[in-house]
Subunit: 351 residues, 2 copies
């Protein structure tokens, strides 16, 4: 086998996803003047004069990112579309086109694929995105979804993740940790069902966190709210891997440090209740759970009064100079270093 | 399992790839004025005022599109990039950016992925394409490659596949059938090796067709040649599924018929020799083999003299009115209806 001839073998799990991408894309220099931004943000950015294209691509892999025993195909299609649209939103852009690549084994019927597409098309209708192409092919086993979304923004609208400034406020939309608690709940009920197929899943009263896990929504409404309030974020990212991982991206890429106040992190009551049941600190769920697809952004301190008035936006901390490091401040005032322990699919699933 | 709840189950193999895409994308209407062309050409086309973006996405799946026992990872990376760039070329555009999605099991090492990326990066350097992003994740088994390429063209340069006109000349670049014979050769040597691992593969003298299969090149040089000669194709497509399938796309999408002359179809001498060895008509290899990534285009009859002078361009037939149908004319003057029997991965691999 070709992959075995190399004298040195480094396991993928040694590097993790970000380390691997860094290594594979090291030393790239653009050939085309139209390439404004390559690897290293939510989207690539392509110049078209007065405006830019924003392009993002995400893979969803059966057995790694989803489990069909509890993710209905229609929800899965919706989520696959939504998480890509969310990447465009995280650059302050408008998603306009989508390409869908699907590879399936013959375990799936045409009707199953139609269900999946129904979810994709529902998300496209909701967010006014045009399905313009793709590729459908068979696989030896399993379902692989690869989605590319193309967005648009005027040049002065685009918000990168590496442009936060010292003293900027750190803000987050919605609430965090819910998607992760929804996942734990679904996993638990799956185990119960496997042990005793007569048992009905006990999911009543948990609609909110189940929806957070199964049907996330890109926060186009937050962009609209900020625009109306006359606030332009100084840096922005969407929360796919957990608050810890995302604020570290903003801090490190901007060459800064940060402080986040534990008691400012928004957590929904259902999330907190389920977390208590699982004996998990809800702040841990928010910091490391991931998949909330809320927006994390920084804003000028002068926007403080305006931000305070915006419902569903929470000021959770501020950026510092780099030397001060990245810390979570507990209610008692203790400092805990922020570490990315989010969903690292490379590391988790291949251990 | 969710995919089993549907009362009706239609097998994917009943529809085939094109039928399936038609069904999944039926009734789509664009929301955005920027969407000039959706599903149904080599690329989607997005409006940017004076110019357009061309976007294409192709999946390459282990066990379906490639076999790592004879496709070296570096070649595979190169081919994955090249076939996507070829889709941009087929719209008469210039490929500028690429996003790469890779899903791998832990059977692969970091070094193996570096080999794959070395091939992708080599193609990007050769064709001056910027690698601007993507996604790398684990899979439960196998290697999945999803590539998106973004190209650019001025608005009056773009060539679609549905714009051929009656009496237009049908032309093809290079020669056909080689990639398919290369594949058959590799498959045969694999079987020989499996039967007796002491046997060395007998591939000497077959470099040309092996290269056709393992390392196809997008024909940017043909576009340049046509531009210099002042010829703009009236319709164009690249040959990924075989000449038969591609000319039917042009004919049906343009609402026309066509005549192709068997003795005009360009076949390399090595292709013909190996075809003889396998007792396959080389014309069959050209019509139905696929993966040659040559350009098939139509041009105005008034360009006949100019086209005749262009080395490596072959005039193989002409477009007719729709009622005359689509036919291959044998040397003896017999008419054979053209039927798409190309690589239909959905149908072949799931039977």
């Amino acid at each position: 086998m070709t992959e075995d001839i190399s004298p040195k073998r480094t396991e993928l799990s040694e590097l993790g996803e970000f380390g691997l991408i860094d290594r594979l894309t090291a030393g790239l220099k653009p050939f085309n003047a139209s390439t404004l931004k390559g690897v290293g943000d939510d989207c690539a950015v392509i110049d078209h004069g007065d405006h830019v294209s924003l392009i993002t691509k995400d893979l969803l892999i059966e057995g790694v990112h989803f489990d069909l025993s509890y993710a209905p195909l229609k929800h899965l299609g919706y989520k696959a579309a939504a998480v890509n649209i969310s990447d465009i939103v995280a650059m302050n852009g408008k998603a306009e086109q989508m390409l869908v690549g699907i590879s399936v084994s013959n375990r799936f019927s045409v009707e199953a694929l139609e269900e999946l597409y129904a979810g994709i098309r529902l998300a496209c209708e909701r967010y006014k995105v045009d399905l313009v192409g793709g590729d459908t092919t068979s696989s030896v086993s399993g379902l692989f979804i690869s989605i590319t979304v193309i967005g648009r923004a005027s040049k002065d609208e685009v918000v990168y993740r590496n442009t936060a400034r010292q003293n900027d406020l750190i803000c987050v939309s919605g609430d965090l940790g819910g998607a992760y608690m929804g996942l734990l709940l679904l996993e638990r009920e799956k185990q119960v069902y496997k042990a005793n197929p007569q048992m009905q899943p006990d999911l009543e009263g948990f609609d909110y966190i189940l929806e957070r896990q199964l049907k996330p929504e890109p926060r186009t409404d937050v962009l609209e709210k900020l625009r109306k309030a006359g606030i332009k974020p100084t840096a922005m990212i969407d929360i796919s891997d957990g608050l810890a991982s995302e604020i570290l991206h903003i801090a490190k890429d901007s060459g800064l440090g940060c402080r986040i106040y534990e008691n400012k992190i928004p957590v929904d009551i259902v999330t907190a209740e389920v977390a208590a049941e699982f004996q998990i600190d809800p702040v841990t769920a928010a910091m490391n759970g991931g998949e909330d697809y809320e927006l994390l952004f920084t804003a000028d301190v002068n926007d403080f009064e305006k931000l305070k008035e915006l419902k569903g936006i929470h000021i959770i901390g501020h950026m510092t100079e780099k030397a001060e490091g990245e810390y979570l401040i507990s209610e008692g005032g203790s400092l805990y270093p922020i570490e990315a322990q989010g969903f690292n699919h490379m590391r988790d699933k291949q251990a």
